[in-house]
Amino acid sequence: MNVNQQAHMASPYRQPQPALQGYSQPGYGEPPTQYAPYNGPNPGYQQGPAPAGYFPYSSLPSKALPATLASDLSSNSSSPLDLGPVRPSPNSGPPPMLTPQGYSQYTQGDVQNGPPTMSGQPHRPPVSQPYLPGSQPAYHQHYGAPHTGMQQMTNQMSGMHVSAPPPAVSGYAPSSHPQTSVSFSGVPSFSVSSQQNSPAASLTHGQPPSQPPFPGSPPLSQSPFPGVPPPGSQAQYSSTPPLPVSQPQYSSTPPLPVSQPQYASTPPLPVSQLQYSSAPPASSQAHYPGAQPPPASQAQFSGSSQTSPFHAPSSSFAPPAGAPRHPGVQPMQALPHSQYLSGPPRQPMQGPPLSQQNHVAPGPPQPGMAPGMQGPSAQPAPPGQGQGVHPHQNGAFGQMSGPQPGYGGSYPGPQNYGAQPPPPAAPPQKRLDPDSIPSPIQVIEDDQANRSSEPFTTGVRGQAPPLVTTNFQVKDQGNASPSYIRCTSYNFPCTSDMAKQSQVPLAAVIKPLATLPLDEVPPYIVDHGETGPIRCNRCKAYMCPFMQFIEGGRRFQCGFCSCVTEVPPHYFQHLDHTGKRVDCYDRPELSMGTCEFTATVDYCKNNKIPQPPAFIFLIDVSYNAVKSGLVDLICAELKTLLDYLPRESSEADSCIRVGFVTYNKVLHFYNVKSSLAQPQMMVVSDVADMFVPLLDGFLVNVNESRAVINSLLDQIPEMFADTRETETVFAPVIQAGLEALKAADCAGKLFIFHSSLPIAEAPGKLKNREDKKLVGTDKEKTLFQPQTSFFGNLAKECVAQGCCVDLFLFPNQYVDVATLGVVPSQTGGSVYKYTCFQVPSDGDRFLNDLRRDVQKQVGFDAVMRVRTSTGIRATDFFGAFYMSNTTDVELAGLDCDKAVTVEFRHDDKLSEESGALMQCAVLYTSCSGQRRLRVHNLSVNCCTQLADLYRNCDTDTLINFFAKYAYRSILNSPTKTVRDALINQSAQILSCYRKNCASPSSAGQLILPECMKLLPVYLNCVLKSDVLQPGADISLDDRAYLRQLVTSMDVAESHVFFYPRLLPLQKLDVEGDTLPTAVRDSEERLSKGGLYLLENGLHLFLWVGANVQQELLQSVFNTPSFGQIDPSMTNLPELDNPYSRRLRAIIENFRAQRPRYMKLMVVKQDDKLEPIFKHFLVEDKSTSGGASYVDFLCHMHKEIRQLLS
């Protein structure tokens, strides 16, 4: 064990063994805390196990396991080759031994833990209840929960219902009851069960089914767990009865009963039943075979094992149905569940025992396995319990232990296991079976299924909206739509202590000018007359639904600062009997979460009504740009594009004026005054001291000067067709635009089309500093910092003038995006990058981006301020903007795609009654030059119980925050530090949950809050993103580009960016408009005979399997042969067949959803482009060293356990 542990220490991920051990140990540790000795040295464990009477258990489980193993082996026999020996050993005798030990340990742990845990364990372990360990406890806890208090139960139940559980179906169902916790807990329980007895198994079984629950239900269960009851359950556990207890519960024990009913009532029930049934089927093994090999087996295993214990209950319930369903119904789910469950238990189980055993026997046998061995080897024993299960479980959680081996090369180990038992399970088992860990797809699908049908009404405070991936309609009833604001949690802790304890960032992602779906009404515009919007006297908050009218309507009390303000006479209105103003529903500002005020002249810069904004197009006409055809393309496009400038819906023509500049080493301004017969070109060579050479005629109304503009756009390409100038300037270009806007005294936007590193002699001249040697060093951060402070100052000036800069880059080599992007990113602009631009391949993408960028709704010269209830304060802001003080977010330009992430911190206490209110007011100049105030209001609940916090989290938003936080941190800290900090904080979040909210359970179990069960997978995606963990082929520019890009992403974008959407296309519903269910981003999910579409908001891939049917190829590519597909195509041929039409429609639909146009890349399997595509299969291990999901999960588990111990 020690050895293993050390290994872990060395390399958490890769050394699966260590990890495993570590996990197991920590897990132990937790409970162990009591055990103290355990934690420290393996011996402890060993001792533990030994005494635990593992043997007995083991014997029991082993008995069970052996069978399973045998079966597995038999089934897998082929694959397990190497492992064979090992497995056999477990099967034969030793393994059981191991397992027993493991079990014993668990049991001991459990037992011991039980009591203590009862009291405190749950809290400590919070780490990963969901995972295995939790499972048993979870169940217990769940059960316990009910015990503890009906309320909790009900809460849980309700939560269950609400949450995914239902969708979880079989797995969930049960889980739902026990909910997530169940699943996880189940796992542990498995382990326990295995150790203890079949009963334990039964518990585990329960869990396995619950696996789905893990993801969804756990939280619920957990929350209840925290409650007193859990302890009770633990106690029960400790007594060993736990299993029974759990069983009873399952069966429909008193406490559970409630839940059960629920189950019954809700879909979950059936599921649960199924699971149960599955479990009961005991014949799980049999099932396995019958069911899908790997997963099924696991599930079955678990089930089987469980079944044994459950038998009674299960039998009562589902046994009948369950068994069949598992395999058939949700093999996947079932499997995962089982895996989860199994995983954890095993690990712990195995961990200790294995280690011992491993050292003894397995060690040698499993070279590769070695790591896995320990866990696995031990597991092998578990296999006895339910080999399948264990492996699975191991993989999932305990697996951590197991997985670790998997990491290092553990796979082999696990494989061995898996192989031996059930082939399917085997390989995956090593690590965890991917199917057994929380599946993003599952969560997304569940949410979509449950929450898209009903409109989301915002009237209720603290209501978490559906996931960003879900299509749902919003009805604004007093809180801003999630389209505008999303919070990391909709239940803020009341005190900063709680917030600190949980480590859950309190943040909101605000997208003030978001475009609403067509079926929703844009914000109403409210005019309060000459005096401007009604505001609180003290905090200046704007009139909103949170203002309480008192004294018959003569005054109102501010919801934010509680100050009482007189109602101006013209705004007076009587109150009705409920204290509401009579005209409440006639006034949007009183009834809607979002509304827009017209601002008076007091809100204007210099107290002057602003001029209509201007767009200035600055086009690089150096040799590169001309040669690539870019200049031609832009000029041709602008001719039509200028007809589509943004305008108020009430106006026929846009008020926006336009101006044109071309440049290379010098700048060329154009006078396109309508009275001229020909445009005039004015060259400014004095780039050191930029100025605008003309006033009149530079910014013109498109319609008035159309002829001149067209003539200009015709001539620009000709004029520079023979240019030999290769050098460009950049800063002077921005200065030019800025000066032009200054001269015209208006705000506006610059569209800069730039091709190369600005090396010409001028301010802001840059040098090539691309130095890949710095990557990974402490100096890496400098690569993200601008070369000079010049651009920062320039950005400041731009912001002061309301000059937003959008930068389109067309580099053939390094252009230093980190520096060039400073101004765009501080002025609310965007950077678009087209590396090695070629018209045929990138033209479409660029033009579409340009069109959208020009046409989209945009506000200028904006100032955003977030006001909050007393008690919290917006302290940190992330996004593309500039701040000159600590409260005002200044955006030279703010378009409908830009989101700002705001972090809140406590500066006082919040109260549960009043909740936490926030008001985001954005003062901006509309595209017609009107000054407007858009106000978004949002109220969230406040809680004194951590469980409430965890129950109302939004992982997607959390990830958005984490990503932005990390991406900003790398400017100042080494990348590794940032990554570690992220992992650490996440681990703290999860461990806090485990400690405080989840029912006590084995430390080996990974228990995740329902709302955060995807946190690990998403976090892993962030960690292995190109910015934080670059591969060798990623240029510094790309990293800087992505870094800045993510900074202004909203939740939906960041979600798909980090976890790309992967659609299988082979079974396309060509008639309907439903999309096929996405699959997880892993190579294993790809079928050689399939066609897959992957999008991440920036890229769009069509992956073509080598064995795709000819007809399919024919209908998509118009070619029968795989070899004839042209990988350079960027659009599919327009073929007149339903499939092609549908596919193209999907692609178009995808493109329409994203702010940036995605170029289609066709990737043929095993083609040279495939690595690029594989880069986006984020659940897999990446070539740059990024961990696979499974591996990372194990690592997280280890971290959590370390925190808990």
């Binding site: 020909q678 445009p679 070109m681 004015m682 050479p693 001539q715």
Partner: protein, 766 residues
């Protein structure tokens, strides 16, 4: 023998030379006692319709330090085919081409009537003339329109192959590219930032790729292609340019209330100079600056843009209160020097009611031989006609302008060159004939005159260095040779050589000869130039004192009188007018700044130091003609006594042409008698001065301000300020009732002046 008058006139007509003394005192000491230095007015490009240029190279003295040109004064040994340089006495063989020379077959340069001769030489590539318009666009709409029309008109006056360029300025400076089709293109510069010539060339894209310097010949053809974007042959782009000019807009930048428009004149000129400097050095080029106001920003700024701060006056300057003056002057001087080095001349056409900063900018024209024209508006005939006259042609249909002139002076041993005063810059050519005493621009024997026309006249000052104890041989003559190389408007390179000689005379024994050979007109002008030259750097009163002292000394030297008896004072005929010239000179705007703005003073001085003798004299002492029923028009005294009610007066001050109707005439005219057939003679009387004035207006450059006024009219001041105030409110009745009009002034009259002069001259105290 002809009178000296005739001799002088003949010499002027033939050689364009007027000496103050036509017989030279033979010793240094005597020469200094003559008070008026030995000097001459030389008009290098004097029009000589009767002088056909010869098509070969001049023959030079072979002594490296001499290099005088063979001339009629040289002794020639026809047999030995040798000639002796009359300056250094070096004996030189004739070149082979002169093999056939003999007494009966002399080359032109040896014939006495060819004391002035012009050679056409074929040297170097010929570059077309360059005209670079630098146009202020901060003008009033009306002015701008008029200017645009004038410019467009001028295109038709230019030689077809001439290169033209256009720079406009206001708040910014735009250099217009003329070669482009379709889109009009210009380079824009900030008006506030001083740029080096190199930067300007870089920014205009004129830097040459570092090519090896071509040997021998300046690489003009190459340069040409570089500058071609900005300078194009007129015949190619006159349509383009006409359109471009017609599309010229007023400077669009808003001028807030109480501000002057921002004018970047300094930068515009700098860019113009830089543009030509970099690409076409040493070619004939005119930078023509048209400005309607003072430079208000950037280097060369004359006044801030706040209207509440008025532009500097003489008062401010005296009080040292003109804060931009020194800086601006220095800036323009530097520009002018650069331009002069490259042989480009700068014209300034300043039309505004207020001052435009000519004081600061004058050097641009003064040093480069460019014109300065000052008017009230571009929309006046004064400007239009004057501008048109810039492109006037001579009897051969050639432009009356030459470029890149280099004047070299050689003297015989008894003489040295002290300096020159005129529109030239020193080339710092030291040599044996350069005096250590400097008068005007001295210390050199060569000057550069970038722009020359037929009137351009330099005052040359010499020093007699022969010692008293080394008398020159009886009958020998001193000689001076002027060698002027220039680029003719036809782009030919030409050399004009003028060789003159005068007799030496011993001042002690032959003083009467010297006295008789005094040219008081030339002397007056030459002394006036010295005075003006001093006035540029000294306080006005000092100059006047100096002038007075010189006059008194002259009178003492050449007057005949009994000591301390003013009434006995007499001057010989050849000196009789001189004191009167001095009297008017003292009152002239060249030395008096009262009632003149600094710009006006600069303007007047500019023209004074470049016009020939006749014009200069008019400037010193305006001409007054009187028209009456009593006889034909007659010149009358420039005296208040000439202002009579029944006369019409026509006064020509060079800068103004004033027609003054006497009180009675004015009343008649007002009554409309001239319309009545029975008073046809009155109509004719009215018409006569107009016709005469028209004649003057037709020929003079710059066109004078034409003033038609009458008794009591406000503009009568032009006349009243010029006439000798013989009658003033102080002595109104002293001179009888019947004549003249009293002048309300405290200035002394000529009579008083003369009385004082006599008194001082005869005084034994001085």
């Amino acid at each position: 023998m002809a009178t000296y008058q005739e001799f002088i006139q003949q010499n002027e007509d033939r050689d364009g030379v007027r000496f103050s003394w036509n017989v030279w005192p033979s010793s240094r000491l005597e020469a200094t006692r003559m008070v008026v230095p030995l000097s001459c007015l030389f008009t290098p490009m004097k029009e000589r319709p009767d002088l056909p240029p010869v098509q070969y190279e001049p023959v030079l003295c072979s002594r490296p330090t001499c290099k005088a040109v063979l001339n009629p004064l040289c002794q020639v040994d026809y047999r030995a085919k040798l000639w002796a340089c009359n300056f250094c006495f070096q004996r030189n063989p004739f070149p082979p081409a002169y093999a056939g020379i003999s007494e009966g077959n002399q080359p032109a340069e040896l014939m006495p009537q060819f004391s002035t001769i012009e050679y056409i030489v074929q040297r170097g590539p010929q570059t077309p003339l360059i005209f670079l318009y630098v146009v202020d666009i901060c003008l009033e709409e009306e002015d701008l329109q008029a200017l645009k029309e004038s410019l467009q008109m001028s295109l038709s006056l230019l030689p077809p192959n001439a290169l033209v360029g256009l720079i406009t300025f206001g708040r910014m400076v735009q250099v217009h590219e003329l070669s482009c089709e379709g889109i009009s293109k210009s380079y824009v510069f900030r008006g506030t930032k001083d740029l080096s010539a190199k930067q300007i060339q870089e920014m205009l894209g004129l830097t040459k790729p570092a090519a090896p310097i071509q040997q021998g010949r300046p690489a003009q053809p190459q340069d040409h292609s570089f500058s071609s974007r900005f300078l194009q042959p007129v015949h190619k782009i006159d349509m383009n340019l006409t359109d471009l000019l017609s599309e010229l807009q007023r400077d669009p930048w808003p001028v807030p209330q109480g501000k002057r428009p921002l004018r970047s004149t300094g930068i515009a000129l700098s860019i113009a100079v830089g543009l030509l400097e970099g690409t076409l050095p040493n070619t004939g080029a005119r930078v023509m600056l048209f400005t309607g106001g003072p430079p208000t920003q950037g280097p060369g700024m004359v006044v801030g843009d706040e209207l509440k701060t008025p532009i500097r006056s003489w008062h401010d300057i005296e009080k040292d209160n003109a804060k931009h003056l020194k800086k601006a002057t220095k800036y323009y001087e530097a520009l002018a020097s650069r331009s002069a080095v490259n042989g480009h001349c700068i014209d300034i056409y300043a039309c505004a009611l207020d001052q435009t900063g000519l004081l600061e900018m004058k050097c641009c024209s003064n040093l480069t031989g460019g014109h300065i024209v000052m008017g009230d508006s571009f929309n006046t005939s004064l400007f239009k006609q004057t501008f048109q006259r810039v492109f006037s042609k001579d009897y051969n249909g050639e432009f009356r302008m030459a470029f890149g002139g280099e004047l070299e002076v050689k003297t015989s041993r008894e003489l040295k060159i002290s300096g020159a005063i005129g529109p030239c810059v020193s080339l710092n050519a030291k040599g044996p004939c350069v005096s250590e005493t400097e008068l005007g621009l001295g210390g050199t024997s060569q000057w550069k005159i970038c722009g020359i026309n037929q009137f351009t006249t330099l005052g040359m000052y010499f020093e007699v260095v022969n010692q008293h104890n080394a008398p020159v041989p009886q009958g020998s003559r001193g000689a001076i040779q002027f060698i002027t190389q220039y680029q003719h408007s036809s782009t030919q390179k030409r050399i004009r050589v003028t060789t003159v000689a005068r007799n030496w005379a011993d001042a002690q024994s032959q003083i009467q000869h010297i006295e008789a050979a005094f040219d008081q007109e030339a002397a007056a002008v030459l002394m006036a130039r010295l005075g003006v030259f001093r006035a540029e750097s000294e306080e006005g009163p000092d100059v006047l004192r100096w002038l007075d002292r010189q006059l008194i000394r002259l009178c003492q030297k050449f007057g005949q009188f009994h000591k301390d008896d003013p009434n006995s004072f007499r001057l010989s005929e050849s000196f009789s007018l001189y004191p009167q010239f001095m009297f008017h000179l003292r009152r002239s705007p060249f030395l008096q700044v009262f009632n003149n703005s600094p710009d006006e003073s600069s303007y007047y001085r500019h023209h004074f130091v470049r016009q020939d003798l006749t014009q200069s004299l008019i400037m010193i002492q305006p001409i007054l003609y009187s028209y009456s029923f009593y006889g034909p028009p007659e010149p009358v005294l420039l005296d208040s006594s000439s202002i009579l009610p029944d006369r019409i007066l026509l006064m020509d001050t060079f800068f103004q042409l004033v027609i003054y109707h006497g009180e009675t005439i004015a009343q008649w005219r007002k009554a409309g008698y001239q319309e009545m057939t029975e008073y046809e003679n009155f109509k004719q009387l009215l018409q006569a001065p107009l016709d005469d004035a028209q004649e003057i207006l037709q020929t003079r450059f710059p066109m004078p301000r034409y003033v038609d006024t009458e008794h009591g009219g406000s503009q009568a001041r032009f006349l009243l300020s010029k006439v000798n105030p013989s009658q003033t409110h102080n002595n109104l009745y002293a001179w009888g009732q019947e004549t003249g009009a009293p002048i309300l002034t405290d200035d002394v009259s000529l009579q008083v002046f003369m009385d004082h002069l006599k008194k001082l001259a005869v005084s034994s105290a001085s």
